[in-house]
Symmetry: C2
Subunit: 408 residues, 2 copies
DNA sequence: TTTAATTAGTCCAGGTCGCGTACGAATTAA
DNA sequence: TTAATTCGTACGCGACCTGGACTAATTAAA
């Protein structure tokens, strides 16, 4: 099975070269055409032509003359134009909906989170609520002179590759919902087709652009919520496996023969370190659909107990951290990342869980590599996936601006 | 961190298009230029020009007229020329050296395995022996009119990305050996630079071209020897992780708190299902460097006991199979492959180990995906990695023939 | 047997796009 | 004011794909 290689004609060449120059501008802005020519290897002529196309599409802007070196004619700096094109990120999660708009400079231009218990609500109604949010976001963007190029939607469950069909979302109580179709029907037409992805994958991308950034290298981002997922990012791209189900960290077995899990296995990580398991272990009543109207009610109760030194809570959280470290050690042996990022509930519990996680990680992923990977804690809030989704739109535009450049 | 996108000039376009046409020829051979034009979307003119370049380099051959449809002028079929260019695969392993030559049609033109206990032998001497094998292989290819385009070397240990520095090869007793440099010095100059990779990765590729082929989809290939490694192949390409250490299946923990492992952990898969552990469990004396002059001496002893129904041996092998299944379930949850391929010692032990492996796999990797991946057993012999290495050279030529095409 | 239809491959003009050199523009140093 | 330096553009060139016309080789029908 060979990786499909597409025929290259002049048009494709131009498209790719637009992306090359735009990428270089994004990386070095503000930057002169002369520097771009040096950096890319193109001639100044070619750079000028490409920049002109990009400027025509509003993707790039001239910033006026800038003295670069000591002598000679001053350069006209070119930068990514953050005031014309934007990306829309949407998220459906268990207890909220979120939308955010990012301009091409990845500045947040609009951000709206609506608390709402979506468990066992009809998918159609939830999706209608989301498209409403989307319409308001697009309008808000418009008021700032931004036109939205495309949207990506984060969904909390396993998706069929491509179509955006939500195969199962246990925490939502949804099963085999054609979320992609429903959303395609409800969203306005945009230059780029809408895309759908797992919440864990997009939260991981959010970390790349709004967390520690490129310093992360290749990393595994744990998004612990009621379930535990992991987004695997290699070289700036999400690793999805053959069918898009890669990164199911929650069902790595950490206690062979342990308590049964809904997945059919026994001793899965989720049974030890999932939100419900931790709360149960800490002696806090399990959350029911009705009792959790306030988003992190039970979690803040847990944190309160931890802060006051409650032994039972500490033990439960430490055990969860240890189990997480064991599962992560396995992931490190198989995936060899530079960094592990703890997100979701684990970022809030990190002060108490992290030592155990780090110890277990060092234990299990020691000598094969030189050293275990760095362990960092996410500083992102609940809508990390929406941010990641919007970032993905921005990345798509930067990676292939040709869709927005008028052919001449 | 954006994926580096290289500027595209006319030359690059031509290079890529040569690869497109050559790939299509390889996929459909024998095939007419007219069909190629349809399949690729190029005009007939362009196809003719590209085919002429490829033919000039000896990569492709005209096969004479062939009646394709019912009416009309008969086509001249074009095929990959298997008689001019070849790839060389080399392998250093614990108890043998191997070389093989593959023509562009992936037919084996030369194959030589030399049994030799390389444990604790000086790296320089082993590498000198291998370059001797290589010289003979290149000569044998020459006698058949084949010129060797490049070589890939399989090494049994963890490698630094790129340079071919062997960081550690515990089963060889080698530590931080500049294998790449030594081999570069000893091998004759070839059009393509020599490359180095882990034995497990290359054995996995061997499976792709000499085992079940594309039907495997994305897969994890287990190469159990004294250590246990896994080659992860997604979309026809090896997944290496950030530093090239991905796929260390042997150090996945299957018995938390179990027996200590050289890696610093406890209860690693290798401690339960590695060759030494199985032999110990079956009551067969552990292998020492001197006692294993005959390659699979102790293993065939084990198989003999299994065939005669020895309880102790059966128990050890079943336990190993079960542990392997547990580790693989974890790998499935994280990597989401289509298929698992059992290679190395596990292919010989499959009749006894497989049921336990399959059960454990189904247990741990059940409901998150629709079903656990297919489990198959490799039919390849010991030099799977050498075959994979030579295949990789062939794949490189097919993926980028421009190096061999004389610029005009 | 001739004629029309059909399919394969080549030839030649044309268009796109990057390359290279030359040149004008804008600025600093002498 | 003049020379040096650097930036960006203009214009001709060459690489390479496109498209239509043309030749070649064969089958089906008249």
């Amino acid at each position: 099975m060979r990786h499909e290689v597409a025929p290259l004609r002049h048009g494709t060449m131009r498209e790719r070269n637009l992306a090359v120059v735009l990428g270089e501008i994004a990386r070095r802005q503000p930057v002169s055409r002369a520097r771009l020519a040096e950096a890319t290897g193109f001639t100044k002529t070619t750079v000028s032509s490409l920049v002109a196309s990009l400027a025509g599409a509003g993707l790039v802007r001239e910033d006026g003359p800038v003295r670069d070196g000591e002598r000679g004619r001053p350069a006209t700096a070119v930068s990514v134009n953050g005031d014309r094109v934007a990306g829309l990120g949407l998220e459906i999660n268990v207890d909220y909906l979120a939308a955010c708009v990012l301009d091409l400079g990845r500045r947040i231009r609009h951000r709206h989170i609506v608390a709402a218990d979506n468990r066992d609500r009809a998918p159609e109604r939830v999706i209608a609520a989301l498209t409403g949010l989307a319409a308001r976001a697009i309008a808000a963007a418009g008021e700032q002179g931004l036109s939205v190029a495309g949207a990506v939607v984060a969904l909390p469950g396993t998706l069929d590759q491509g179509g955006g069909r939500l195969r199962s979302a246990p925490n939502l109580g949804w099963d085999d919902v054609p979320a992609g179709e429903l959303l395609d029907a409800g969203l306005p037409a945009l230059p780029l087709a809408a895309d759908y992805d797992n919440e864990a994958n997009l939260a991981a991308l959010g970390e790349l652009w709004f967390g520690d950034g490129p310093a992360l290298g290749s990393y595994v981002h744990v998004s612990g919520e009621i379930g535990i997922g992991a987004g695997i990012v290699v070289d700036g791209r999400v690793f999805r496996g053959a069918h898009g189900f890669a990164g199911e960290l929650g069902h790595v077995v950490v206690e062979p023969g342990g308590s049964p899990c809904a997945c059919g296995g026994r001793g899965c990580l989720e049974q030890v370190a999932g939100q419900e398991a931790i709360l149960r272990g800490a002696g806090i009543a399990a959350v029911t659909a009705t009792s959790s109207a306030s988003p992190d009610g039970p979690l803040s109760a847990l944190v309160a107990r931890l802060e006051r030194g409650d032994e039972r809570a500490l033990t439960a959280v430490r055990r969860a951290g240890e189990a997480l470290g064991q599962a992560l050690a396995t992931a490190v042996n198989l995936l060899d990342p530079d960094t592990i990022v703890l997100g979701g509930i684990f970022s809030g519990l990190a002060p108490w869980a992290r030592p155990a996680t780090e110890a277990a990680l060092a234990d299990g992923a020691g000598l094969v590599r030189r050293s275990p990977p760095r362990l960092t804690v996410s500083r992102l809030g609940g809508d990390a996936a929406a941010l990641g989704a919007a970032s993905l739109v921005v990345e798509r535009v930067l990676d292939d601006p040709s869709r927005l450049v008028t052919r001449c």
